[in-house]
Subunit: 715 residues, 2 copies
Amino acid sequence: MSVSHAQHPGGASRFASLTPLLQPRSVAVVGASSDPHRIGGRPIAYMLRNGFAGRILPVNPNRSEIQGLPAFASVEALPEAPDVAIVALPAPQVLETIRALGRKGARSAIVFSSGFSEVGGEGEQMQEALVEAARAANMRLLGPNALGVFNANLGYYAFFSTSLERGTPLAGRVGIATQSGAYGAHLLGLARQRGLGTPICVATGNEADVTLGDAIGWLVESPEVDVVMAYAESIRNVDSFLAALAAAHRAGKPVILHKVGRSELGGRAAMSHTASLAGDDKVLDAVLADYAVVRARNTEELMDIAYLATQRIYPVNNSLGMITVSGGAGIIVSDAAEEVGLPMPPMPEAAQARLKQRLSFASPINPVDCTAQALNDLSLVHDFTESMVVDGGYRSLIAFFTQAGTAASIGPRLAEQFARIKADHPERLFVVSVMGEGEELAPYEKAGFALFEDPTRAVYAIQAMGRLGEAFARPLRQVPAPGGVELPAQTPGEAEAKQLLAGAGIESAPERVLGNAADAVAFAEAIGYPVVLKIASADILHKSEIGGVLLGVDSAAAVREGFDLLLRRAAEHAPAARIDGVLVARQLQGGVECFMGIQRDPQFGPVAVFGLGGIFVEVLKDVVFRRCPFDAAEAEAMIRGIRGAPLLLGARGRPVTDVKALAQVLSRLSRFAAQAGPRLRSVDLNPVFAMPEGQGAWAADAVLEVQEVAHGAES
Amino acid sequence: MSVSHAQHPGGASRFASLTPLLQPRSVAVVGASSDPHRIGGRPIAYMLRNGFAGRILPVNPNRSEIQGLPAFASVEALPEAPDVAIVALPAPQVLETIRALGRKGARSAIVFSSGFSEVGGEGEQMQEALVEAARAANMRLLGPNALGVFNANLGYYAFFSTSLERGTPLAGRVGIATQSGAYGAHLLGLARQRGLGTPICVATGNEADVTLGDAIGWLVESPEVDVVMAYAESIRNVDSFLAALAAAHRAGKPVILHKVGRSELGGRAAMSHTASLAGDDKVLDAVLADYAVVRARNTEELMDIAYLATQRIYPVNNSLGMITVSGGAGIIVSDAAEEVGLPMPPMPEAAQARLKQRLSFASPINPVDCTAQALNDLSLVHDFTESMVVDGGYRSLIAFFTQAGTAASIGPRLAEQFARIKADHPERLFVVSVMGEGEELAPYEKAGFALFEDPTRAVYAIQAMGRLGEAFARPLRQVPAPGGVELPAQTPGEAEAKQLLAGAGIESAPERVLGNAADAVAFAEAIGYPVVLKIASADILHKSEIGGVLLGVDSAAAVREGFDLLLRRAAEHAPAARIDGVLVARQLQGGVECFMGIQRDPQFGPVAVFGLGGIFVEVLKDVVFRRCPFDAAEAEAMIRGIRGAPLLLGARGRPVTDVKALAQVLSRLSRFAAQAGPRLRSVDLNPVFAMPEGQGAWAADAVLEVQEVAHGAES
């Protein structure tokens, strides 16, 4: 296949440096083989077979001709600096080759060879040397241990998978970026089966230089790509990954990500309470929530969502209407829509009445069941569906006609009816669910419908299109540079931590140590009754044992009496203790205990966590994560999103708490963390009291951990 | 298709009465049509085309011949009493026909016609009349509004779906029972695509007489069926449904159930607290847990599980080993196995070392990644896989070879290697995951492997086989007849309720009202300190306001003093009150509040619910259901199964509670409910205190609701 093709815009983009790798005019093959079945022979055979328009330059010291092409004895002997050089040599010979390519002026290299970081030890060092050599020559390097790349639009195949023997990729506009070669080849096979065109593919291997993010970034900026399908085992370079997602958002192109592996980084669990909650996977999800990315739960969903995304319809305020010839399928779709939170509102009553009048057996609510009856007069199907679009206003539609929809007597005519509606309402996402193969499906395919045999899978994919629509409609969040918060050199104590946070607008429960009764009364009047009084002395550890704590002190007189009482008790029970005075604190009552924290992810920076206190966090793990910073509206959405949220919102006769104030505290904490920069390791506010409405939210304890400044650097 | 076929054993089984319907020797068609495309013509055309071995008897008053067969003018004119009669007439003519068939001695009838209970009103009455007529004649009736039945093993098609035009079902041993005709036809199409043989199918329609349970029951007892696939929208006759599931368990044949519709019966929500938790769907799941039934989450899973079940390998103590050429696929499978709780233990270390020695690039843990390297020497694949079976001991295996496994140069030889292992270890469940079509898959199919292109879906299906294995290994629970508990005529008060439950071994917190201090001391000594003392008087409502409650009373002397103090305070503050004495109760401290209840499901009888108290039940709905009765071991499994269970088991420094005692109470409650019979509507024990280990579990409150006995019936 070689279709007309558009150059990558490149320009100022950080991803433009991949253009020689993906749209080369000349391809050197170092370690070229005459045998089209060997790794060094396959790319040449594929390119010859598929009419690569550029120059193929085989390098082999022992042959003057390779697969009918003139061969060159060495890199030095090449007649030009190639855009890209494939290196298919044993690992020990790779480094010298990369250096030679650098000297020659090659713009990029693809290292097929394995035996580098994936085997550890010496392999890692060799890989580092490769990167160094490539960078020194301003050359991008894909691999090592990479299956390679292809761009079928150019007939360009720097790719040694035998899966291409089964057929080249179909024409289309889906790009693939994958960390696993073998699984990438599997995806190619699935895409071909599904009729999904994936002409451009990058398999990144060890990612010594070019990463998955680079590949995604180049693909979303390509005018030849509408949708990117990505497979990841770990995100190795967060910068390029996030830059790629931002580029995708700008371009209005979705990234469908299959990130596998859910294991947690056990090593971090000990650092803080928040860390023990923040598995890598949850942090990644929190980060992805900002972008137009859908994370597929499995390979099938990856294919389904990418397939539907090629329709390029991403509804905002998505809703689903279904027209069906089977009530059973209607229930199945309703169940699936409820499961993923895709609304299926009923048809307006007037429209229902009209439909019922046309076909008395019909069930006109939604799903609209037109019954097999309607197959005798397909204009009924048209009018019912049209009414769902116009009167029902559904953003997305499923038409379930299973085998009836592919019967020779019905299929083409039914497709025609639907095509009329699609032409009149091109902004609606319209999925047809029929069962059949090959020619039976042609009328629907020709009319451009997305086809799903299984309506449940259609629902999941349709829901994903709505999430993409919301993401594209939302402006991308700007993460500010750190600054404005000065952290202490060492991890501070509780009081200092609270003071730091107070500077960021996060108030602890108001409290103060006072030396005389008059000051104590004045402070109590200022913060409001009831207050708690505690004897303040570093020498008295167990204050309550000597009666050194008074609760529910609710008037000026009571404060005055209590002040004297505490001093007397201290004098009596601990005559040697040095007394600082009496601590006066607002007594928090009727509040709900919450937990908030910050965890610095080594990859994604500060991530905030919120949950209800105690067992909710510790046992039920009912928590929500978000990358810092975020505003109060987003904080409120987080708070309302946890399972236990009803406890804050007045469930079963409980008081409604001050969720707005709580959200304010959470948002301020996220800003504090963003401003504090990388030395802030973690914050735990445990508990934060969400008080009844109008009474605010207060952190009752604060633990803040910083990376210590080395002594030498302190001056 | 007409394969050799075995008669249904019938005999004493309640399902034997369906044999004339499913294995008829003669089929009358009332409303027979010469047009093979009309509803009254299709069954005849299908049977003629497929060589039905029995007699086809068309009934049509206007023709002497129908599709080449002699036709009869009326039911009366039939030359014999047919085993089954198809009725394809307008609704108003059906009743008279059923009566005529009854008089003629027909053994069963299938009513295709619609216009009965599904349209409500008069249709319902007509349907009742049909049932009456059929029962009077000792005739089974399928439908009305039914798509019908077929038994391809006999060439018998009393089925009017056009889906049969696309091809008759493949030979095989999967039976289908479905409430929806249209969705049933969809399933038939899917099965044919999948290569799954479904020669016998029953679509039950309105289920006026024959229900889904009847159909399942007959199928599992048929020697021609190994696996039943069932689609249900509601369980209309629980008796036959449960009898069918019991028969399936006896026969060692799994039922794969797709029950759709998750809406709750709002009407019952008001009755009791337990009822508001017990949605129909959860109750159904609780009931199914007893049987060898897997509930599929969607249609795809229904097909997958049924397909794998035809291997007839249901492992006990299931575990999964995977051999793969892609590390990525290995991670995907590990994620999926973790998600559904299917263990993937590592290979023994010695075996790992051996494999590593044979192929240094291999990752020998589990998944065992033999890398594409092994494709050059397939004996490696054999030896690796053999080691997983022998050394690893995995009950189930997935071999992931994607496109490599269907390459012409590899496929047949790889299949041979695997076939050797399968022959040596026929008891292992062995799934091959390769990508390809038609002839490419033939070597694996011929060797009898289950094939899944998507390894994630294979994991889900393999996990289901393990659940079936456990279910078959467990003896079926016997539900005893009610008896042994006498309920009061009216809903009792708290004290009477507690007394009733105490009779069943469910103790409330021990308490007693005593008239003098000496008795109070003796009782306190008996139940253990600390105790609570309360003034006992129906005239004093707010006891704590007059100081009428004493907590933490912890010695004989304190009880004596407290007794006198309470009487003095009562005399002082409420001189007119009649005093019954002082209530002495064990003070429950350090316990965890739980909730237990019983809800009588109108279909499945008493169902028990357990959860932690307060918000766990009310907000988080963290509850578990089980059909009554069950023993303490099962109760303990329920208790340990809730999300919040760590709170009972010593999470984060909490005391470990007396879970054994708690399970005892729950089990006793379930027995009480079973014995009490249908007049027991609900029980709420809220809270039940689970005390620290060794200190028991006590119901602190009990509400018991009974169906009132009508006055006339009371005498």
